[in-house]
Amino acid sequence: MNSRAIVINILRWFVLLFVQIFLLKNMGFYDLSTPFIYVLFLLLLPFGIPNLLLYLLAFGTGLTLDAFYDTMGVHATACVVLAFVRISFISISLNKDAIDDPEPSLSYMGFQWFSLYAFLCVITHHLVLFFLETFRLTEIGYTLMRCGLSCIFTLLIILLIEFIFYKRTSR
């Protein structure tokens, strides 16, 4: 992890959280679909990052979101779950010694791998988030619907961002 990657990631953190807090927080379709694109920061952290640092970053990012959403702990927990899914999926689907790409982005990993990766991470994050927010099982149908629709919205925006910043590589 060189200094350029560190600067890019710090910049990405600020831009994504700014967009999430001041723009997307006020957005939502019929209270059903609200996007949470700040998870893209956690998805795009470099491959070589130590697990402890990844968890600390996820937890910290979640707490920052919580401070603005007035939901102490909910986003933090969801981000930690996302980090776990990320580590598990990468260790299952890729050979750790043979990774020579710097980060798991669309331009390096290809559409198929990245979309599956993003889908799994986002859906678990949203499930934890919405169930912790509701904190009861009586509204399970509504919660699941909100979760599914929000997940679609988030994934669409994430793929859109990734295609905009697509870098043509040697692959």
């Binding site: 001041f22 209270d31 609200t34 402890l52 968890y55 959403y69 939901t71 102490m72 702990g73 776990f84």
Partner: protein, 279 residues
């Protein structure tokens, strides 16, 4: 011991996950059960200030609409004042009513931050303990309708648990029949313009279009307009009826609210729970 260490190190992702997950859940649950911790919510001065800055711009955009509503309210108050003065001078009687007349005082506050898209919505206003606010005070909107209760107070800011929150319950009357019910939001209805009345006794007749007002039990003064019934006699599996109503208040355009200070609140609490307050 060494083997254990190797084992933990090999699966460190999982063990770290467990540790952080437990911390997160702990924060969430603690937060649900008790008052919100002061450090990390929007009563926090830093976050509050950030929203304040953002709001300067937002307020400017809505200036025209706010002006109109203020003018309407002004006119209403002026007519009221006119009525009062004419009545008083004609009869020439001094009103010696020192308690009931002054039971409620109103304090205007600006909404610094508002949310309507969540299941549990909380807003922040720019008045705090320095203006005499306390936890539990009722909040209404200037035009018509209830808003919620004060939840946390800092020196200059306060958060409101709005009606659009799973824990908010307000005692209301159906004006025609004087039947009591409790106003809630949620329960398979997540439209911010609608709410439910629950626990209306079975024998009460309700009609679409009946006006609903606050009952005066609890923190809200009696007779504050809440909404109009839109769907009646929803059967529930207990011995009570439910009804749906259209709220007069539009939470999405809320910019100013009135906090109601109840002078008799402390006295009432002392009278009703003498043991609890002494302890």
């Amino acid at each position: 011991m060494r083997n254990l260490w190797i084992f933990i190190n090999r699966y460190n992702a999982f063990f770290l996950f467990i540790i952080f997950f437990i911390i997160g859940i702990y924060l969430t649950v603690k937060n649900n059960a008790y008052q919100r911790s002061v450090t990390l919510n929007s009563s926090n001065e830093i976050v509050g200030t950030a929203y304040d800055r953002l709001n300067v711009f937002k307020r400017y955009m809505n200036l025209g609409m706010v002006n109109d509503s203020l003018a309407v309210e002004n006119a209403k108050l002026k007519t009221l004042l006119l009525n009062l003065t004419t009545v008083d001078t004609a009869k020439d009687v001094k009103v010696i009513d020192t308690v009931t007349n002054q039971q409620y005082t109103y304090l205007a506050a600006k909404v610094v931050k508002n949310s309507i898209t969540l299941r549990n919505n909380v807003m922040t206003i720019n008045k705090g303990t320095l203006d005499g606010l306390e936890t539990g005070m009722a909040v209404i909107s200037p035009q018509r309708g209830v808003v919620g209760f004060i939840r946390d107070v800092s020196a200059h800011l306060a958060t409101i648990q709005s009606l659009l929150h799973k824990d908010t319950k307000i005692s209301v009357n159906i004006k025609k029949s004087n039947a009591l019910g409790s106003l809630v939001w949620g329960d398979n209805n997540f439209d911010i313009r609608k709410a439910l009345i629950k626990e209306v006794p079975n024998h009460i007749k309700m009609n679409v279009g009946d006006t609903v007002v606050t009952s005066g039990l609890g923190q809200f003064p009696a007779g504050i307009l809440v909404g109009k019934l839109s769907k009646t006699n929803i059967a529930t599996n207990d011995n009570f009826l439910s009804a749906e109503l259209n709220l007069f208040n539009d939470f999405s355009t809320l910019q100013y609210v009135y906090v109601i200070k109840n002078k008799l609140a402390k006295e009432q609490e002392l009278l009703e729970n003498p043991v609890k307050t002494k302890e």
